[in-house]
Amino acid sequence: MPPLKLAVVGGGPSAFYVASRLLHLLPHTDFRVHIYDRLWAPHGLVRYGVAPDHPEVKNCTHKFDVAATDPRIRFFGNVDVAASPALDTTSLSLPLETLLPYYTHLLFATGGPMPRVHPRLERSKYCIPALDLVHWYTMHPRSKYPPPVSPIPENTKHITVIGHGNVSLDIARLLLTSPKTLAPMDIPSHVIRSLEETWRSLRHISIVGRRGPRDVRFTAKEVREMTSLTDARMVPIPTDLMQAAEQGGDAESGGLSRQQSRIMKLLKEGSKKVQPDVTKSFSVDFWRSPIGYNITPPSADRRVSLQLEGTKLEEGRVIGTGKVDELKTDLIVTSLGYESDPSLLGTDASTSNTLQWFDESEGHIRTAPGGGRVLSREGHVIPNVYASGWAGRGARGVLAGTLLDANDVAATIVQDWQDQGNRTASDSIKGDEVGSTTLANGTFTTLAPLATSTPAGGLDAPPPAVQTSVQDGRIVTYEAWQRAEEAERKRAAEGKERERMRWEEVQELLKKD
């Protein structure tokens, strides 16, 4: 039976959940999993996404730590699997095909790192994707705002967030929470200083969506947190709007789901709350869609004039009513979801067969339902290639969903591997031949294929370039990450959860020992 040596591209929760599940399913098998991440630190959005005031969510990393202590699982931080070298010189750039001969199986767990843009809202100093803010307050290594730069312009009084999902609420909640409360949390100190400045000027955050209260993508916990803020009050939602939503009067039929009715109840309760002494506020605004914005002269009270068109439902689709309002604001933050990045598969569809694994219309890698087997454009299974998490299912859902999906994918990998082993044994064909038949359909023509018998480097070794970079300290192993993490906790001020490190600081630290 050929060995199982799996390369995982991406080291977020999906990767670690798959690795963990493989350990569970194959407790006594000598398999290998090598997890590559383009960032020096593992854990993807758990480290660089989950809001700092939700530390409990990050407890899932304890399980990842346990998986990583198993010698069969290895992590290589700072390896960018990319068709063309990355712009930053921090990470080792490794084209996909150099990886393949060293592995028998390949898993994409690359998440959905690209924010969806709004065609009518051009990026500017006054209009940024929510991910810019998230990367800033989590000190993402590729953040566009290295310390001490803040993405929030000076003297911002009014912010408009576009999109009714949890990331919108994360941002609104953090900006409407006193920096004193935030200071002990896992937020870099320079960010806290900038937030203090924003806190002095900020008065209102408007959270705008193009649908009604039935269709919000917020979850109840996050809505409850918004309506429980001590320093900001909610502008009541018009009663007729809520009533229309409850009665399905907004042209949607059918009863409310449990989630819908609980969220609507929270919104109604929040609307009734009286907080007279509070100077900051937020509003959840429905049935509005942005159609453009202008930057106003510096003398104006607000920096931006945003045009919002009224919307309504027609046969289930959102359409504009033609009625346009101007909203004076200082910063537009778009939070419209995420897509996967196809560039690691190739940059030119005419020369790269792997690029066709990417489903352009869905914005993620094309997979068979349940199990994560990657499919060609024609729907053929690409042997031994899988995608999990946000890379394989699209960028939606909480960690619980990412976990279930990872369990699916791990089980499929094991099943396929065992089936292949059985076939090889019974037909007494060599692994090589099994490989070349399946490859004959041309799916791999521009790539060196995955190994079908003993992989290059044997069971243990990663490609030589990786090996070298581990030795010279450019690549961060899991043990090195844990040392950095401990240093982050140790160097934090008394009572503060941690003080995150920049890569340069991590390098210094790791050089010392």
Partner: protein, 128 residues
């Protein structure tokens, strides 16, 4: 488990079943133990991603109706997380929030499927 006979009286029996209702294990817990901790103690495949902080819903379990009715109503925060549980039922709870009481003796705790795909759910740990 090598527990003293004299403590046996205070032990509370819990029957764990898999998603299809097949018995996995019957275990004995003490008053105040929660279902998530017990599952981990007895090596039962129940996830607890946030480690009992009511922040994840991965510890979702389904109780038999009689036992469900004996429990105090879930708090708001538990309901908020249950909203997101996969395969929610009328007798669903978060395992980390269910504390054993003597009247739960004999309760049946069903684990929801560890995957969404019944086809691969048949893959069980192997030993080769």
């Amino acid at each position: 488990m090598g527990r003293e006979d004299s403590t046996r009286l205070s032990l509370i029996k819990i029957h764990f079943q898999d998603a299809k209702g097949t018995p996995i294990k019957t275990i004995e817990g003490r008053e105040g133990d929660n279902i998530l901790d017990l599952a981990h103690e007895y090596d039962i495949d129940l996830e607890g991603a946030c480690e009992g902080s009511v922040a994840c819903s991965t510890c979702h379990v389904i109780l038999d109706p009689a036992s469900y009715d004996k429990l105090p109503e879930p708090e708001d925060d538990e309901n908020d997380m249950l909203d997101m549980a996969f395969g929610l039922t009328d007798t669903s709870r978060l395992g980390c929030q269910v504390k054993l009481t003597p009247d739960l003796n004999g309760a049946v705790v069903k684990l929801p499927s560890a995957t969404r795909n019944m086809f691969v759910d048949g893959v069980k740990p192997t030993k080769h």
